[in-house]
């Protein structure tokens, strides 16, 4: 397994990777659901609640990782739980990664079919996306991280581009009344995006590749703050422009970009935005895909993860098509089971591992 861990990424690359694993799809799907539940205060969910939750996840995962510098989760959970249980953890995460990644591929495909190319079969988008990601995964995490530095800057540029151009349409009146109905709807609205923000738990798998493992916590927290900021502005902007109707739009940000009209000629920029978005989603899928091959290799004690890229890609491509019958089924999944499901693999499993490690005094400077 030495060959696997010879790659190294820097602290800032690490941070941007975390941003890229959450940002692309969260901006696309979260606003509608959150606004439906939390109403006019939905932006607080994005800005505050998600950030706090994200910091909690980052703290747990990075503390766990820092106790065992340079070792992978499957490896050190053997120390914590024993050999057999650690394999179970590995298999669990193989399932999680392939399942969630298949969902993300599907999300992207659905977006393309709904918004841009209604006549093209879903499978085409999914296969192209997975194929591209497979290429990236074969080249390793260093390549993904470097490519990400380029793509994420374009994505952030696209976001700023949308928000700046559409700001003239925003009516701050739409953000009133403030905290209508108290804290309860706010929390209900926060549940689903919490699962999304919690995707930063991936840092526990990427941590062994970090130059200096002490940077993980700071980089993770920086990433979470950036994500919270982006999500808060995103939700706030959609609300301010469309009001409550925003909860009815399937892809509010896409609608927002298509609503741009500056001086009567700068219009219909959504295709440009889309082009950048494809890059972002590709990075996201690549990172998850990479973690999937990594965990599979580690669980079964393989020397290299490259041989796993093709078979796992085929599984994901098929799964991404068969996983849901229709689009609303997918949204329903995110609103209902996703909340507890994501809480489990993003927070409870790492937190339990950390707790047992502390109790049994495994890892860390003292152990």
């Amino acid at each position: 397994m030495k060959a696997l861990e010879s790659e190294k990424i820097s602290g800032s690359q690490f941070m941007w990777l975390l941003v890229a694993t959450v940002l692309p799809t969260s901006l696309l799907f979260i606003p509608a659901v959150t606004i439906e539940k939390a109403g006019t205060s939905a932006w607080i969910d994005g800005l505050v609640v998600e950030t706090i939750w994200g910091i909690a996840v980052v703290w747990v995962c990075s503390t766990l990782g820092e106790r065992f510098p340079g070792r992978s989760l499957v490896d050190y959970s053997g120390d914590i739980l024993g050999k057999v249980l650690s394999k179970l953890v590995g298999i669990f995460y193989i399932f999680i990664f392939s399942y969630v990644n298949a969902i993300m591929v599907r999300e992207f495909g659905e977006f393309m079919v709904t918004a841009f190319m209604p006549e093209t079969p879903l499978l085409v988008f999914n296969i192209f996306l997975i194929g591209l990601a497979a290429l990236a995964v074969r080249n390793g995490i260093e390549v993904i991280a470097r490519m990400n530095q380029f793509v994420i800057s374009l994505m952030i540029f696209a976001l700023i581009f949308i928000f700046v151009l559409v700001v003239q349409e925003a009516e701050l009146n739409h953000l009133l009344p403030f905290l209508e109905g108290g804290i309860k709807p706010l929390m209900r609205g926060a549940l689903m995006p919490m699962g999304w923000q919690g995707e930063v738990f991936l840092l526990v798998f990427l941590l062994p590749y970090l130059n200096n493992h002490r940077e993980a916590k700071i980089a993770g927290i920086k990433a979470v703050i950036l994500l919270g900021l982006a999500l808060g502005i995103d939700i706030g902007m959609v609300l301010a422009v469309f009001g409550k109707a925003a909860s009815n739009y399937v892809f509010p940000v896409h609608v927002l970009s298509s609503y741009i009209s500056v001086a009567g000629f700068l219009e219909r920029v959504e295709a440009f935005v889309l082009a950048l978005w494809v890059g972002g989603v590709m990075i996201k899928v690549s990172v998850w895909y990479y973690c999937l091959t990594l965990v599979t290799a580690q669980t079964f004690g393989l020397e290299d993860n490259k041989s796993l890229v093709l078979p796992l890609g085929v599984i994901q491509a098929v799964w991404s098509i068969t996983i849901f019958n229709n689009f609303r089924e997918m949204v329903d999944f995110f609103v209902k089971p996703w909340v507890t499901f994501s809480l489990f693999f993003e927070f409870i499993v790492p937190a339990t591992l950390l707790l047992i490690a502390v109790v049994r005094k495994r890892g860390g400077q003292s152990g």
Binding site: P118, E119, E180, F242, G243, K244, A245, V255, Y259
Partner: protein, 396 residues
């Protein structure tokens, strides 16, 4: 072996290079510039009829000739009926040899009957459609939308352009019509405590300009249709519309005729240069009062009496007259709204946003409370300048 494999892959790639998947060539498109929606009842069945104005690209471009040669309109009006709007949309294809493309649509005119039946089904269709833009302007008309769409554009190349430019330029100069897009109308309909007003377009006949020619059809904005919940319930005239725009703070520039000295008729005109408004609601028991504060600024445009008006005292008289006139217009608009039992000023929404606890109690029977709502209009009007001359000329 490897060489052959590469060759095989290359050969497999070639079919992919042949072009885009579901491409549409421009010459195979029928570009829709405007939509009209009507509802009719036939044999007890509800039928939607969809009218589209399709551009004839070959006749557009010669803008100076008024589009089109030899009186041939540069658009083609097609109407189709169907049991649903989507059905009607597809039925249009039975008459057109091209793929109908709605992405460049600029407006939708809703006919009176359709608007009286409710706008929500129309809005649902328009917003669900992935080709139609959210920025399309939503208008209403007395009678059938189909009839409005026959107008032949005079100054611009297409009727869509006329409507669009009127929204962008003219309506802001007159403030007698408020043209809004699909998003804003939808927002007002689904938000409790506020009802939208749809700008109204009509066709007017004007005398022929050329000898031997027939009368010319002129497209014109006249006030707007009041929507209650999602149904058309009545019309605002131009002055009421301006009062409405003053109250919601959308009035920009306009000319207001005011009365300065006693006697019949108005005797001065003011160019409005800017205006803003602020609504506050207060509740005492069951009585809701809305304080509407309007700030208006203008300059003297004309003066008909022969006294020396260009003094501070004279200006004060003008300001008083302007304030009174604006107040009257706002009251008139509000009374019309109350008569139709529609909250066009958004007083309920204002209460919701700034006083949400009381709103919770009133939310359910707001339409019962609305007729008893009182408004208190305060106008602070300022006349800043008198134009290029000071006092009026006096004949001796």
């Amino acid at each position: 072996m490897k060489y052959k494999a590469v060759l095989l892959i290359l050969a497999a790639v070639f079919p992919l290079l042949s072009g885009c998947w579901s491409r549409l060539e421009v010459e195979n498109l029928a570009i829709v510039a405007g939509l009209g929606i009507d509802k009719t009842h036939e044999n007890g069945k509800e039928m939607y009829s969809l009218t589209v104005n399709i551009l004839r690209p070959s006749l557009i471009g010669g803008a100076t000739t008024g589009g089109g040669s030899k009186g041939m309109p540069n658009f083609w009006r097609v109407t189709a009926k169907g049991e649903s709007l989507a059905d009607a949309e597809k039925n249009i294809n039975t008459r057109i040899p091209r793929k109908v493309f709605y992405g460049h649509d600029r407006f939708v005119i809703v006919g009176e009957d359709a608007a009286k039946d409710g706008l929500l089904d129309i809005i649902d269709y328009l917003q669900r459609n992935t080709e139609i833009r959210l920025r399309i302007l939503m208008l209403s008309t007395k009678g059938k939308a189909e009839n409005v769409m026959t107008q032949f554009p005079e100054l611009e190349t297409t009727i869509a352009r006329v409507i669009e430019e009127m929204e962008r330029i003219t309506s802001k100069d007159v403030s007698k019509v408020l043209i809004r897009d699909l998003v804003k109308i939808t927002d007002d309909i689904i938000t409790p405590g506020v009802d939208p007003v749809l700008a109204q377009v009509i066709i007017q006949l004007s005398p022929p300009t050329q000898a031997g020619g027939g009368p010319i059809k002129i497209l014109k904005y006249v006030g707007g249709g009041v929507i209650r919940e999602d149904k058309l319930v009545g019309w605002l005239d131009e002055i009421e519309t301006r009062g409405y725009m003053f109250a919601i703070g959308k009035a920009l520039r306009s000319a207001i005729s005011i009365k300065v000295s006693p006697g019949p008729g108005k005797d001065a005109g003011i160019y409005l240069t800017r205006a803003s408004s602020n609504i506050k609601t207060s509740v005492k028991g069951q009585e809701v009062t809305a304080q509407i504060e309007i700030k208006a600024e203008g300059e003297l445009a004309e003066y008909h009496k022969q006294d020396k008006i260009a003094k501070p005292a004279g200006i004060r008289k003008l300001e008083e007259g302007l304030g009174k006139e604006i107040q009257q217009e706002v009251m008139q608009a509000f009374k019309k709204g109350q008569k139709l039992n529609a909250d066009i000023f958004g007083i309920g929404d204002n209460m919701h946003k700034h006083n949400s606890k009381t709103w919770e109690k009133m939310n359910k029977d707001w339409y019962k409370i609305l007729p008893n709502v009182k408004i208190d209009v305060k106008v602070s009007a300022h006349v800043r300048r008198t134009g290029f001359i000071s006092n009026p000329y006096i004949a001796r």
